[in-house]
């Protein structure tokens, strides 16, 4: 329960922090920390415009996406506190839920019948397809490392495996999670939410035709996703079993750190050429595979 609430809270300021970091890094004053939330409120107030080409799919897609994210949140633990719905192999469900969301985003984009959105959809589909293995290798490796297959249990036992090299692994894990999160939430270097040319967009171009309530839902979903990955990262860094308040503090610290990292990357790094992206994403799987071999070493299987 705590995890759920914390994620929701974090979702309020994380996107804001990203914006802020970026503006500061580029020497602007920038909007307030809660600007994104205000945007959402504005959107909720507005009415909507629907394209005549679109139909049912286009209308339900944002709701579905958001629903998947919310359900995914139920799977994440916090500290010793188990998740709301923990079970063996819940991370499979986690991944597939997010995939379900993506499925609807893509077909919704195709529903508009616009060439731009079709292009975005095709790219999104391709990239998310490529990122799947990285995530699974990573979690399979956890499973092998800890011997458990549920987020809650994995993270509780992560540091108590009594293995000295745990830190190495958690670092690699953190790195991978950040990268995956960047891809999944369509940030740099794969995608750039702030680009103004449809031809170079991926996620943004897919939601071109959304307005008002639906757009708000989409944004909420994205923000929650940030927090989602943030809390994953947090669970990797901070051992369970410390004082609960300390944990809470650390949680927000980590979320903030995550946001800052994203912000800095986006300010100081150029986005990839579109046809470089597949290679880049595949690299993540490669690194994950390395992580796996590392684990093989750590668990003395590769003797």
């Amino acid at each position: 329960m705590a995890g759920f609430i914390l994620i929701v809270i974090a979702a309020f300021f994380v996107p804001g922090m990203i914006l802020r970091t970026k503006s500061i890094a580029s020497g602007r004053k920038g909007p307030g920390l809660f600007q994104p939330v205000k945007d959402i409120i504005v959107l909720l107030k507005k009415g909507s415009v629907f394209s005549t080409t679109t139909g049912l799919i286009f209308q339900i897609a944002p709701a579905v996406t958001l629903a998947t994210v919310i359900c995914a949140m139920l799977l994440l633990p916090f500290a010793e506190q188990k998740a709301l719905l923990p079970f063996e192999g819940d991370f499979v469900l986690f991944a597939y839920l997010l995939a379900l969301g993506k499925f609807f985003t893509i077909i919704a984009a195709l529903d508009t019948g616009s060439s731009f959105e079709g292009m975005g959809a095709s790219r999104e589909a391709l990239f998310s397809m490529l990122v799947e293995p990285a995530f699974f290798i990573l979690l399979a490796t956890f499973a092998m490392f800890t011997g458990y297959t549920s987020f809650s249990v994995i993270f509780n036992h992560f540091f108590v495996t009594g293995n000295d090299y745990v830190m190495i692994y958690s670092i690699i894990g953190v790195y991978l999670f950040i990268q995956i999160a960047m891809v999944e939430t369509s940030r740099l270097p794969v995608d750039d939410p702030k680009t103004h040319l449809e031809l170079t967009m991926i996620h943004e171009v897919m939601i071109l035709d959304y307005s008002g309530f639906d757009k708000a839902l989409i944004h909420i979903g994205t923000y929650l996703k940030f927090a989602l990955y943030g809390s994953l990262i947090y669970n990797l860094i901070v051992p369970a079993g410390w004082n609960i308040f300390l944990q809470a503090g650390l949680f927000f610290a980590v979320q903030g750190f995550f946001a800052v990292v994203i912000g800095l990357t986006e300010s100081f790094r150029a986005r990839n050429k579109m046809n470089k992206n597949p290679k880049f994403i595949l690299t993540l799987s490669a690194i994950a595979w390395i992580a796996f071999t590392v684990i093989l070493i750590l668990t003395d299987k590769l003797a």
Binding site: A63, A67, L74, E88, I107, D111, L126, S128, E132
Partner: protein
Amino acid sequence: MLNSVLFLAILFLSLLVFFIPGKFKYHFTLVLLLCGVVLTSVWSGMLLAGDDQVLEIPLFAPSAGSTFILTIDRLAAFFIIVVNITVLVGFLYARGYLAPYLKSKNALRFSIHYFSYLWLWLSMLMVVMIRDGLSFLIVWEIMALSSFFLVIFDAEERSILKTGISYLIQMHAGMFFILIAFLIVEKTTGRMSFDALGEYFTGNRNLPLFLLFFTGFAIKAGFIPLHTWLPEAHPAAPSHVSGVMSGVMIKMGIYGILRVIVSMQSDLLVTGIIILVISLISGVLGVMMAIMQKDLKRLLAYSTIENVGIIGAGIGLGVTGMALDSPALALLGFSGSLLHVLNHSLFKSLLFFNAGSVYQATHTRNLEQMGGLMKNMPSTALLFLAGSLAICGLPPFNGFISEYLIYMGMFQSLSGATLYHSIVVLGSVVGLSLIGGLAIFCFTRAFGVAFLGAPRSDKALHAREVSAGMTIPQYITVALILLIGLASPLVVKPVFEIVTRTFAIDDPVMVSGAFTANLAQISIMGGVFVVVLAGLLVYRRHHLSRRQVDTGPTWGCGYTAGTARQQYTATSFAYNYNHIAKPVLQTAKEMDEIKEEEIFPRRRSFISHSDDIIKKALIDRPLDWLAGILKRIAVMQTGQIQHYILYAFIFMLLVLLLSILKII
């Protein structure tokens, strides 16, 4: 006794189809089908509910020297149920699908069609029920034959006929493998039966014989590289037939493989690895090719190969589990694959029926000519959506459950696994996840291009929703799909039971128990999801009702004269992907370059189609080569008597020579 009489009655009554007057043929067949379905389902139900190992029903009195004895064990019972569901639904659907043909084809054609349909179903039932080798081969071939006649329903088109025949030949070739394998068994054990396998396996090396059987069955199941008949036959067949073929008939190959594995004794590890590798290759390549297809049914056919890959992966894991005696892996692997057999039979038949409806409405199978169908045929579109979500293994649909079980098999066995084991498992994890991602790509493309956006052709523009007779069967299937997806424990518990009994896995109650619990959690999550979604949608409706909602054209980035032709097409959607996949796939382009001296270029056409490299290399080229040789040999009938005498002369000399050389 009564049982066998009833079954025989159905067998013989099927002949009456030829003599029933035209407009009652369908009803007669349906009644017969229903009776059979009830009968056999009751049998398997009795067995699954009861506690005895097998249920034996000799078709004839043993004195007649006949070997037709129906032996139902749990495995058979499971497959019987799978077969019955799909066949029945398929036939319900057929009514509407065949309606347009009633004028163009004479009654005999329909008799043949219904008769073959009945016999495809009966032969599939008997395939899973018969143990004796000879009888098995007979029904196995009858299955191929009847499906052949179903495929060539539209035989007036030479291309379809050609496809059908090549299908028949490949099935026959596959049968030869099984036959030879059986004969080898008989040579050592003196019996030609599945029951004799155990005896053989204890004495001799297991792998070679298994590979023989596997090849034979894999041709039916459509594992790459033996899949070559599949993407040809499925599009050619009428949709209810392709639904049944892809839904259940190819599963007979899976059944055979399982049946052989049950009695295997040694070489398990290497066998498991082989199956696993082949399956993953099939899975990945299958879906990769599926993405490139423009023909909707061909796309589905390739995705069938992918799903067979998933099923095979489950089996491979199960065998590995048996080898490393880790019951968790064995149980989850086998259960996953069995469950996926059921699931795939449901959603793949659904998708094929759907494709049939689309074909009937638009008279094309080409994705590029569809688009925007959801407007005119909403229920078909929704059904297709459900099917694609299920086939992508997305919660809360049934596909997820089976894939989850297989994944869990891998993860469970990971902890404390040896080096090679863990490498294999992780490899398969990668493969499965890749398959998942690709499947999403494939079906977003299929659904999006076919049903969404603006119509790409007049055919699509004027499409009309198909009759209720065709949609209702599909709704039934969807209901089953959701049932399995949302109430998985109900289905998975018996499957666990079947697997533990069949493969003699010392039931790790902790495992099966724990997993029913997990599945319960998943069901809850499904419920939560539905509730949340419903809540959101309701609120949205309420919210929008209080805001001003207006409509306009799609945002064209300032360009206002957009037409339907500017949409992303099926080809362009897969363009980037195609770049990556070049090494494995091959897309042939047919175009003529503009010459320099051509000042006013004339109208040009550009055609691109992706070919199956494996088929080319493995079937087409060698066969052409062989046929060429044979034709070159056949020049003896010169019409000149002296030559005819010469042959005798030469033959005698040849024999003389050979006997001098001590060759004969």
